[in-house]
Point group: C2
Amino acid sequence: MGRVLTPHDIHAAMTAQKPGVVVRVAVDALGGDRAPEVVVEGALEAAGELLHVLLVGPEDTLRDLLPAGGSPHIEIVPATEKIGSGDEPVGAVRGRPQSSLVVAARLVADGRADAFVSMGNTGAALAAGLLHVHRIKGVLRPALCTLLPAVPLPVVFLDAGANAEVRPESLRQFAILGQVFAQEVLGIDKPSVGLLSIGEEPTKGTQVVIEAHRLMAADPQINFFGNVEGRDLTRHTVDVIVADGFSGNVALKVFEGTARTIVGEIRNAVLGSLRAKIGAAIMAPDLKRIGAALDPEQYGGAYLLGLRRPMIVGHGSSHAQGVANGIRTASRGVTSDLLPAIARRLGAGAE
Amino acid sequence: MGRVLTPHDIHAAMTAQKPGVVVRVAVDALGGDRAPEVVVEGALEAAGELLHVLLVGPEDTLRDLLPAGGSPHIEIVPATEKIGSGDEPVGAVRGRPQSSLVVAARLVADGRADAFVSMGNTGAALAAGLLHVHRIKGVLRPALCTLLPAVPLPVVFLDAGANAEVRPESLRQFAILGQVFAQEVLGIDKPSVGLLSIGEEPTKGTQVVIEAHRLMAADPQINFFGNVEGRDLTRHTVDVIVADGFSGNVALKVFEGTARTIVGEIRNAVLGSLRAKIGAAIMAPDLKRIGAALDPEQYGGAYLLGLRRPMIVGHGSSHAQGVANGIRTASRGVTSDLLPAIARRLGAGAE
């Protein structure tokens, strides 16, 4: 695969299917603010000859939402319980083995599905992944890996919130996870990696970040650029940005909130006056293009990177298109060399 | 003072002068990317009968930049050395006693000036503040306190980067520092305080944040809302947001970078086609208003809150208006009850 050049290429790289290979994706039908309706809609959009969906949730409800007679590429797997977005992750996963999320994770663990998708509770998905799907041998902690819509090209960003506290060695591993992701999924030849801190100098940041900088700089496996700052999230200073899950999650939500506030302000301005309405109507295609470039749904969710099978968690607010892209991204995770490459690079051999 | 209601009110509250009181502000003429030219320009804009500026830097250069015969409200104080934005703060402050920044801080320490302003190295300003101006008794760590242009009203945000690592007790103090700032400078009656974390639940975040949550919730002095998230930076969920200086600095720079990227994308769209140019020309007043609302220069820099005198550090990229607003903000810090109120609230009595 050549180096990706446009956001469109990236979308294609993230969601491409491999000819001749049938992939089975388990989908948590009760995850997300708009479940199960948009999940079923997204599954219908994504499912096909090469992409079978195992839709996990209450049988009758799901059957009613599917077209009469069902869909040839969608199978319903019954699950009666639900884990909500506010539930305490570990307790919920242990206490509700019949929840759609845990049943979906177990389908992957049992080999009945190749990958997992949920728009629900990220912490619970991580807990289910750790408990049932397990880490790749050698990986200390899985990281939540997402694409940030930077200009001109998205940036691979991890950890977006799986680990509130990490050791420097985990940050070093995140650099390798992100680098392999950029290589194997996006086709970037020698991806550069930056470490999120509060100044360019290696001495800036917390003790954990300073030590992680040292480990990354000393690791010949890592094409290390050095520290980057918050403003580099929306530029393309580096291909991959590594952060601890606390400041990473803060950064991601500040990005989303700021984009939403500015777009909202422009919309208010437009509604506020006839003059602006006319101007906005003329500018509409350009504003729409910018809005689309900033839309997190286009890439279909974040990878829980470091688990033995592809696990994708999407925004709770996802629409059908986001769900469909999440399912395609999971499928792509199966047919790419991503997970074997992680296993090779983190020094514990093949699974 | 009544409760502030608009961004315009906030600007007025931040920069108001008190009738009949002459304030002397020491200004580091060599701080910032555009120094000394824009610093002199900003000083000329801000100086007046009630606001005397002590402009600290190379005498001949500054005299050449001032109008022939000087300005009646500006005094040049000679300083031969400079501390650059990349210099290691503590070493530079100790090693360059004749630098414009250190001389300006010493003018405040010696009582020749009432407040300090620099658009230069924030870390060095903090080091000079700690070494020469000193903390208010009872304050563990000063915090960098800034206003974020949220919608509909700005949010008081601290620590924006003075302390990469903090103890929970410092975060509790930051809540009080921010609350007093919102009361005494912005005139907000009972400001609400949120703690930046990665989930609403008190159990979310790092150990330091979880413990700080407990301390804040238990403190009757603090009008504690609970945890807030990255997306609340650009809303007005609370009047004051408290963060550790690492994720606070990351958050601030993500905000600035995202705003700049989106505005840049709109500008590119506008330059890209005649159609969009016409639309943008029609929308121009609205886009300009939104741009102005997001402009960090309108509030004139950040307070190093917790020091015995008002110290303001502004963006290195500030233009003359930002410098002038920084000087006015420093002056307002002198005539308000801000610092005495901090001394009273942090339990160590008057200075």
